[in-house]
């Protein structure tokens, strides 16, 4: 005991503060992967490559913020990817086929995302359906609607004016990444500094107890599902702006990756634990893994194995650091 105490007293205060933070494990894992990549690959730290990673992270990051917020509530929405894809396709149709001005088309598509998220929330709260099961169904509907609308063919001719939102940079930082950071700041403010955030954690921990405390559980659920739909739509629109076409495949990879990112980032699937910031750290780990796999020229047949091993190592590192924290009494 005295040895542990002396170890604690020897540790610099900043390090002690870092270790007390529940995000310390995933943050250190992120920094470690970043540092190792920088040492091993001479290309990793180039400005262009940093921009590539940040831009790639932005889109899945937005959906990760949405999914992690739902997971804190104890919910899951498997249709977020297809909401993003559908809203992207609809925005393309509104701009190209209906000839609407781009800002109006984008706003309407965001509203569609809100509506689809609201619909998911409504079905979960009113009918008392399990969100995981329900959204398997709605993902099928939204994904099917993409194929019905596009026949599988991308919508081209997206106005060049909006492509800045996906391809542009401000002071060398990709615009979609800046948008994601702004959304993350808002999500952190809401979850940490407002009653709504406290209610979300309370509901995630124990919905029945939250109800007894007078928290309007269904209203909060409905609100978070709705906002999650809108964030996914935003990701879809930004991807349309990035590609310059509304691809029917947008959102296909936004189903499992955000859940994995959130879990890596310490968000519990059972609810009540974690933070959108941790989830973004998790998404950052995944984004770096995807990047270094290409930089190192890993065979496509080994990519799944390599990325899986790195994810397992990152989670193990996080778990070990938590155990160390507990043992240390910090």
């Amino acid at each position: 005991m005295s040895t542990e105490h002396s170890a604690q007293t020897r540790r610099p205060p900043a390090l002690t503060l870092l270790m007390r933070n529940p995000l310390a494990g995933v943050f250190v894992a992120l920094v470690a992967i970043f540092a190792i990549s920088a040492v091993i690959s001479p290309y990793f730290l180039s400005g262009y490559n940093m921009s590539v990673i940040a831009r790639g992270l932005a889109f899945v990051g937005l959906v990760t913020i949405a999914q992690s917020s739902l997971m804190i509530l104890g919910e899951l929405d498997l249709s977020l990817g297809t909401i993003g894809g559908l809203c992207g396709v609809v925005s393309g149709m509104l701009m190209v086929q209906a000839g609407l001005p781009a800002p109006m088309a984008l706003i309407l598509a965001l509203c569609l995302g809100l509506a689809l998220g609201f619909l998911n929330g409504l079905l979960v709260t009113v009918l008392g359906l399990h969100s995981l099961v329900l959204t398997i169904g709605t993902a099928g509907i939204y994904g099917g609607a993409i194929l019905v609308l596009t026949k599988g063919v991308a919508i081209t001719g997206i106005p060049a004016g909006i492509q800045f939102l996906g391809r542009g940079d401000v002071l060398g930082v990709p615009v979609p990444f800046l948008i994601m950071l702004a959304v993350l700041a808002i999500a952190l403010f809401l979850s940490l500094k407002t009653p709504m955030g406290r209610y979300m954690y309370a509901i995630g921990n124990n919905p029945a107890a939250a109800r007894m405390l007078g928290i309007r559980v269904d209203r909060i659920r409905l609100l978070v599902f709705t906002l999650a739909g809108m964030l996914s739509a935003l990701a879809g629109l930004l991807m349309v702006a990035r590609l310059g076409t509304a691809q029917p495949s947008i959102g296909q990879t936004w189903v499992l990756a955000p859940i994995a990112a959130a879990v890596i980032g310490g968000v519990a699937t059972t609810g009540g634990v974690g933070s959108p910031l941790g989830a973004i750290f998790g998404a950052g780990i995944i984004a770096i893994i995807e990047n270094i796999i290409v930089l190192f020229g890993v065979s496509p047949y080994w990519q799944g194995v390599v990325s899986g091993v790195i994810v397992v190592l990152a989670i193990s590192f996080d778990a070990l650091s938590r155990r160390y924290l507990r043992r240390d009494g910090a």
């Binding site: 599988g152 063919v153 590609l243």
Partner: protein, 314 residues
């Protein structure tokens, strides 16, 4: 001092010659080259492209002594977003050239422009460049390949019957061109009716599911053509599972081992095959030529082969 002046004069005289040698097309040399091959998706057809690329690398190494590294980097799914991410990450490594099979020319345009802006030589194989972009491309005549298959099916069916078309990835230009050319041939024959079209997204499993459902819904279906290499393999499996071998004619596409087995076993009548090894081989050759500063042709046709039980052998 005189020696120094003579040396400088010698250097000055040699400079134009050296500069001329440097500037002459195809004379830039390096000790090593690293070329990136980016297919549409992890798929056996693209493994053959990679085989061809490795052959070219070996040939170049033997002839020039330079180390030639082929980095084969494939998206796990046929998703343009993933492909763009791979190309953009690869640009960071400053390769000596990138050969890519585009999932969607419009969606890939940004990443190709990024590569061109960094003077990285490009070659497009099995696809066509985005409109307005000057990039050498390699492939067979996709339309002719499809027409060979469609005409064969019409011939086997005697010009009459219900047929179906399996499209691959609808946004992939080579797949959509083939599907359109199938339709053109069938439209020339009033007795042929296209009753269904499926989308398999270059997945054998999806092709099998789509084909099974289409044959259920259209019991009078007499024949199939496909627009991608995975399609006919899935269709063949569905034909066998439905017990319709001999009742439904399949004219396949390309020369994957499963396709060849189906022709040998009689599940498929024949196949109109592009030659992926040649596409990989010439992709590397054109990248290398560009890296040396040599001019390259804008288009290189690797041709098609028509495969039947008779000419396949064992």
């Amino acid at each position: 001092m005189k020696k120094l002046a003579a040396m400088l004069a010698g250097v000055a005289l040699a400079m134009p010659i050296a500069a001329a040698a440097q500037d002459a097309a195809g004379t830039t040399k390096k000790d090593s080259y690293r070329f990136l091959i980016v297919p549409k998706v992890v798929h056996p057809w693209f493994d053959k492209v990679n085989d061809g690329a490795q052959m070219a690398a070996a040939a170049l190494k033997a002839q020039t002594g330079a180390e030639i590294e082929i980095v084969y980097s494939a998206p796990q799914t046929a998703d343009v977003v993933q492909q763009v991410q791979i190309v953009e990450s690869a640009i960071s490594t400053r390769p000596d050239g990138i050969a890519i099979d585009l999932l969607d020319p419009s969606g890939n345009r940004g990443s190709l422009e990024a590569a061109q802006s960094q003077d990285i030589p490009l070659v497009i194989f099995d696809s066509v460049p985005p409109e307005g972009m000057q990039i050498p491309y390699i492939g067979s005549d996709f339309c002719e390949q499809a027409k060979i298959a469609a005409r064969r099916l019409v011939e086997v069916l005697g010009g009459e019957g219900e047929v179906a078309i399996m499209m691959g990835v609808p946004t992939a230009p080579n797949h959509s061109i083939r599907a359109e050319c199938h339709r053109e041939v069938f439209a020339e024959h009033p007795g042929i009716k296209v009753v269904a079209e499926g989308i398999d997204n270059d997945s054998i499993e999806t092709a099998q599911q789509q084909a099974a459902a289409i044959m259920q819904a259209n019991p009078g279906l007499k024949g199939w053509v496909a627009s991608d290499a995975a399609g006919p393999i899935g269709i063949g499996q569905a034909i066998v599972e439905a017990g319709k071998q001999g009742q439904v004619t399949l004219v396949g596409l390309d020369n994957l081992p499963e396709m060849l087995d189906m022709i040998r076993s009689g599940v498929a009548d024949s196949s109109s095959a592009s030659q992926p090894e040649l596409q990989g081989y010439w992709s590397v050759m054109l990248l290398w030529a560009q890296a040396t500063g040599a001019p390259v042709p804008g288009y290189l046709d690797t041709g098609n082969a028509f495969l039947t039980k008779d000419n396949l052998g064992n």
